[in-house]
Structures are given as structure tokens and as C-alpha cells.
């Protein structure tokens, strides 16, 4: 059974070779040459440095199309018109499923017809050369964003291709994204990804790693997200990663969001080794959006405002077309600029909101409970602990589609709109904390004159898309 241990060099090399034989483009990877390539990149394309030295939140959208020239055009547009500070390259679904053959077909069809037959950029198929062309064309750092359970070949090729930031992790790209991949399997695979990033890091090329904080994007209680971020951060650190960006998805309550981002940074610094530079990324609301661009802009505005107060290192923006489907580049840029305007108008203001310290304290206590439980489950080993804790339900994620998580814990908002836990299932938590949640939720139930039930959860899931934060009973119900 695997443990939280660094992959030995020979093992790294062995897997690397095996992996790279999985698709023709894998053969072209040459580690030494890749190091030299990264060293040749100008300072403004060095992802970790740019992110870590920024003096205000940097903005990054989501974007990926199949063809290289289209991807270049798209990123240039988002950089110039959207004023994105950092750029993404979102990978297509076939690549995420390691179906490089199908991706190739799609790419060829895209090249022939001009249609976007894939929902992202098949970086493996484009190979090192394609990746580098992209890196060279765009005057800003670019991150690989995907959702791939087994991202080993993708990492090998994109790292060699000049990308210096890579989203995901064994839990965060498993539990929300796939049904059948075992957690042990994805941890093992991501240990390789992290080890590879660590190998670059040792040579002075600090590959930034970004666990995916929002998880299922749907009312995830902050402490659950933060605990998983710490676990993934720790796993990456063990493999030698030194630049780690922990993520968090907005829940929409300003106090809770600011408290959570503070706690994320604080606990990240505390739990992760000193050698690691920990930064944070705030995702604008990741749940269901309103089916109306004007209202969506309101959601984005609240996200920007929260970012201005919490000051994370990076903000991943949403577009007003989030509800409908993949946004046009214009809408994507609009989301960036709306966010930028709000942040820049609010960030120089001193906005200290009461109750943030208390909420942060609660989040920290909860997170520590979960972390203690993980360490206990694993007898001190975080890999073992994570596996056992998910298995026992001591660690869980709401709305998890994966067979590796119970998905039995259910969140609901309290009367102030903060996300609390309504159904604990087997989640490990101090009784005192459970009592706090219970009290807050029963206060809401009183306000609404109804019992706590799944209906409340369902109403909360829909609330923001329906124009409110809290899913209060409507009409004469």
C-alpha cells in the first residue's frame, strides 16, 4: 500500500519512460533540454515568480479550444482585451480520460472543419512543439487546467512544453470529476506528477502546483475544502514541489469567504513545510449560475468584492455566460474586466468586517478536527490516512459523484447565508462544533417556519441561480 513518501529517482525514471511510450508525442521529451528551455523563458513567463511577487490579486480565466492557432488567438484576446494577468489552457475531455486516440480524431476533425469538436486543448496530441509554440506566442504565464485523474503523460508533455503551472490533485481531480477511479490509484498517479514537478524544481524550474479547491463547486463547507487542500499540498511538498497554490471556491457569504481564505493561507503555511511558498487562489462562485447575463454579472461582482477584501494571490473569474455553456471570448473577457473593476475600486479601501475572526476560528477548528482524523486514520501517514478517512466517511465531500467518497454529508445555509453542515453522516467532527452548526441551522428553520430537510438543501443549491443567496421557501409555501 502506498504511503506519503518521495518516489525514488530510478522509479521516477522508470514510470516516466513507461508513461511517455503511451502516445507518440511522449518520445520527444528530454528533461535536460526542457530545463534549458524553461531557463530561456523571460521572467514574465515564470509562473511561480510572477504569482508570488504580485502585489494584488492576479486574474485568470478558464479557456481551451482544440486547435493551436485558435488557442493562441483566444489567449491573446483574453490577455489583451480581458487584461488577464495569468492565462489558462483547459484540456479536452478525451485527454482527461486518457483517450488520446479519440482526441486525435477530434483534433483532425477540428483542423478540417474549423469546428470545435473537442471541449479543450489536447496538449498531449499537440506535443512539446505545439505547447512551446503556445508558450512563446503568449506574453504571460500559462497554467494547465484539466480534471484528469491520471495526468502523468499530460504533465510530462506540458512541463517539457514550457508550462510552469499545473492544476489538480489526486483528490480534487478525482472525487468531483469521476465515478470509478479509486483514490489510491489517483494518489499514486499524482505522486508521479508531483515528483516530476519536484524534479524540475530541484533544477531551479519551480513548477507551480494548484490543487483544485472548489471540489464539486456546490456548497462545499470551507473546512472540508481546506483539509483536502492541505492534504494535496502536503503530498506535493513530499515530492519536492515548492510553489503551491491552494484553492477555494466562493460560497457567497462574504464573512465566511474572507474567513476561509484567511484560514486557507494560515493553515497552509502552518501544515506545509517551510520550504514551500504557499499562495491562494479564489474561484468566483462555482455552483449553478443565473440563466441571465445581467444577474450573472451581479454574482461576478460579489466575487470581485470578496476578492478585494480577502486579497488572495489569484482569482479565477467566471463569465456572464456561465449558465449557458462555454463562453465566447468576449464574455470571458467581460467577466475578467468586471472583476478587475470591482477589485481595483475596492482594494485600496479598508474594509474590516466584524465576525471574520470568529468565523475563521471556527473554520480552523473544523479543519484541525479533519486533519487530526486523517493523521489518526493513517497512523501519521497522510496518504494512508486520507484513504482510510474517505473509506470510513470521516472525510467526505458533498455531492461527490465518485465511488471513492460517500457523498453522504449534506450542506445547507444558515440564516446569514453561511454554509453549514445539515447531514454529518460519518464526518469526523467535535460535538461542540456540530452543536454550533445545528444551532445555526435550526435558527434558519425557525425563521422559515419549516423543518430542516433535503428540500432546504435543494433550495440552497438553486438559490443563486434563482437570484438569492439563501433558498428560502417561495410564495405561499
Amino acid at each position: 500500500m502506498i504511503r506519503d513518501e518521495r518516489i525514488p529517482s530510478e522509479e521516477l525514471r522508470r514510470i516516466d519512460e513507461e508513461i511517455r511510450s503511451g502516445w507518440t508525442t511522449g518520445g520527444a521529451v528530454d528533461f535536460e533540454e526542457a530545463i534549458a528551455y524553461h531557463e530561456s523563458l523571460p521572467a514574465r513567463k515564470q509562473f511561480a515568480d510572477v504569482l508570488e511577487s504580485a502585489d494584488k490579486p492576479l486574474l485568470q480565466p478558464r479557456a481551451g479550444v482544440p486547435r493551436l492557432d485558435d488557442q493562441i488567438e483566444l489567449l491573446e484576446y483574453l490577455h489583451e482585451e480581458g487584461k488577464a494577468d495569468l492565462l489558462p489552457t483547459t484540456i479536452d475531455s478525451y485527454t482527461r480520460d486518457n483517450e488520446y486516440g479519440k482526441a486525435e480524431e477530434g483534433l483532425e476533425k477540428a483542423r478540417k472543419t474549423g469546428d470545435d469538436t473537442l471541449n479543450g486543448f489536447p496538449a498531449v496530441n499537440h506535443g512539446i512543439e505545439g505547447c512551446r509554440e503556445l508558450i512563446e506566442a503568449i506574453d504571460a504565464p500559462i497554467e494547465v487546467r484539466h480534471g484528469t485523474p491520471d495526468a502523468r503523460l499530460l504533465a510530462a508533455i506540458t512541463f517539457a512544453g514550457g508550462f510552469q503551472s499545473f492544476e489538480g490533485g489526486p483528490i480534487s481531480y478525482n472525487i468531483p470529476y469521476t465515478k470509478r477511479h479509486g483514490l489510491e490509484e489517483t494518489i499514486e498517479k499524482w505522486q508521479f506528477v508531483d515528483r516530476l514537478a519536484g524534479a524540475y524544481t530541484e533544477r531551479g524550474v519551480r513548477i507551480n502546483r494548484e490543487p483544485f479547491g472548489p471540489l464539486t463547486g456546490t456548497l462545499v463547507p470551507p473546512s472540508i475544502a481546506i483539509a483536502i487542500m492541505i492534504v494535496e499540498g502536503q503530498l506535493a511538498a513530499t515530492q519536492g514541489v515548492r510553489s503551491i497554490t491552494l484553492g477555494y471556491g466562493q460560497v457567497g457569504n462574504v464573512v465566511q469567504d474572507v474567513a476561509a481564505l484567511n484560514a486557507l493561507q494560515k493553515l497552509g503555511d502552518e501544515y506545509l513545510p517551510d520550504e514551500v511558498c504557499v499562495t491562494t487562489v479564489f474561484h468566483e462562485w462555482m455552483g449553478g449560475f443565473p440563466p441571465d447575463e445581467a444577474r450573472a454579472n451581479g454574482v461576478i461582482g460579489l466575487g470581485g468584492m470578496t476578492a478585494a477584501i480577502a486579497k488572495p494571490d489569484k482569482v479565477i473569474t467566471k463569465s456572464p455566460q456561465e449558465f449557458q455553456g462555454v463562453p465566447t471570448k468576449e464574455a470571458n473577457s467581460a467577466g475578467l474586466r468586471t472583476t478587475r473593476q470591482v477589485i481595483d475600486m475596492a482594494i485600496e479601501q479598508k474594509i474590516d468586517i466584524d465576525g471574520i475572526a470568529e468565523e475563521q476560528d471556527l473554520i480552523e477548528r473544523e479543519t484541525r478536527c479533519l486533519m487530526d482524523s486523517i493523521f489518526e486514520h493513517g497512523d501519521g501517514d497522510i496518504v494512508r490516512g486520507t484513504l482510510e478517512a474517505f473509506d470510513s466517511g470521516a472525510l467526505d465531500v458533498p455531492f461527490a459523484p465518485s465511488d471513492s467518497a460517500r457523498g453522504a454529508v449534506l450542506p445547507a445555509r444558515d440564516d446569514d447565508g453561511r454554509v453549514r453542515i445539515f447531514e454529518w453522516a460519518d464526518l469526523e467532527m467535535d460535538d461542540e462544533i456540530k452543536e454550533i452548526h445545528r444551532a445555526r441551522l435550526s435558527q434558519r428553520a425557525d425563521t422559515e417556519g419549516r423543518d430542516q430537510s433535503f428540500r432546504m438543501v435543494a433550495d440552497d443549491v438553486d438559490a443563486i441561480s434563482d437570484g438569492k443567496l439563501i433558498g428560502r421557501p417561495q410564495g405561499d409555501a
Binding site: 455553456g325 463562453p327 435543494a458
Partner: protein, 151 residues
């Protein structure tokens, strides 16, 4: 078709490699509350899994969900698979069925052509789906039985 107020089994799932589970979680709950027996296959279900479940549970309706934009590819040949398995159930599909910013009328036509009895967009409330099912399955709900999810 005869009026049927008893056992009404529906199969529900997300097709393809799509993992968006929230919608079907809400749907499952609403359908159960409305009195249906729901067989929830979860996310990333194959055409065959839908067909097998429909046979096994003698489902009266097969409800397919897709959010991630690949519904059209994922549903190619679906109705042939159902036919081969001798499934004679209603088929609905719903969610976010096209990639990008599309016109829904066109999307609806595409999926009707593929054989779906009804096509729903992502603004669909569970209530609408339930009402359609009750109409299509010719279910009469007596006053006393009427269970709405708002209750």
C-alpha cells in the same frame, strides 16, 4: 395505455464521461417525493448501463442527463441500443445539451431526431419533468396522493 397509479419506475443517470451529479441528485429526490421509484445510475453511465437497468427494473421511462457539452456524441446510437434490449420506455434527455452558446430550438430538434421523446433545457425545474412524466405515462394523481416537492 391504461391508467396506472402504482409502481412507476424510472431510470435516471448522467451519460458519457460527464460527472455533473448535482442535477440528478435534485431530480432523484424530487421524483421520489412525487412517488416514482427511481433507479439512479449516477454519473458517467454508458448506454448499455441505461439499457440494462431499464430491462432489469422494467422501467417506464429512461431519463438521461448531460451537462458537459458532449451529449450529442454520447447519445449516438442510444435508441438502437435500447431497441436491441427490447426497452420500450419513454426517453427524456435534459441538461446543458450543446457546447457553447447555442440556440435551444435547434438543440431540441437534434435530440428529437436521435429519438428522445422529450428534450429539456437546463432551466428545467424538477416539477416540469414530473408533470411531463405524469402526462406521458397517463398518471392521474388523486388529491390525497398529490405530493409536491415544495411540501
Amino acid at each position: 395505455m391504461v391508467v396506472n397509479t402504482m409502481s412507476r419506475t424510472v431510470v435516471l443517470g448522467v451519460i458519457g464521461s460527464d460527472a455533473h451529479v448535482v442535477g440528478i441528485t435534485i431530480l432523484e429526490q424530487a421524483l421520489s417525493a412525487a412517488g416514482f421509484d427511481v433507479v439512479n445510475l449516477g454519473v458517467q453511465s454508458s448506454q448499455k448501463e441505461f439499457a440494462d437497468a431499464a430491462v432489469e427494473h422494467s422501467a417506464e421511462a429512461v431519463l438521461v442527463s448531460s451537462l458537459y457539452g458532449h451529449a450529442e456524441q454520447d447519445c449516438q446510437g442510444f435508441h438502437e441500443v435500447l431497441e436491441e434490449a427490447n426497452v420500450d420506455a419513454l426517453t427524456y434527455i435534459g441538461g446543458n445539451l450543446a457546447v457553447g452558446q447555442d440556440d435551444f430550438d435547434q438543440t431540441r430538434a437534434t435530440f428529437e431526431e436521435l429519438g428522445f421523446d422529450r428534450v429539456f433545457d437546463s432551466e428545467t425545474d424538477p416539477e416540469e419533468a414530473i408533470a411531463a412524466l405524469e402526462r406521458d405515462l397517463n398518471i392521474t394523481t388523486t388529491e390525497s396522493e398529490q405530493v409536491t416537492v415544495t411540501s
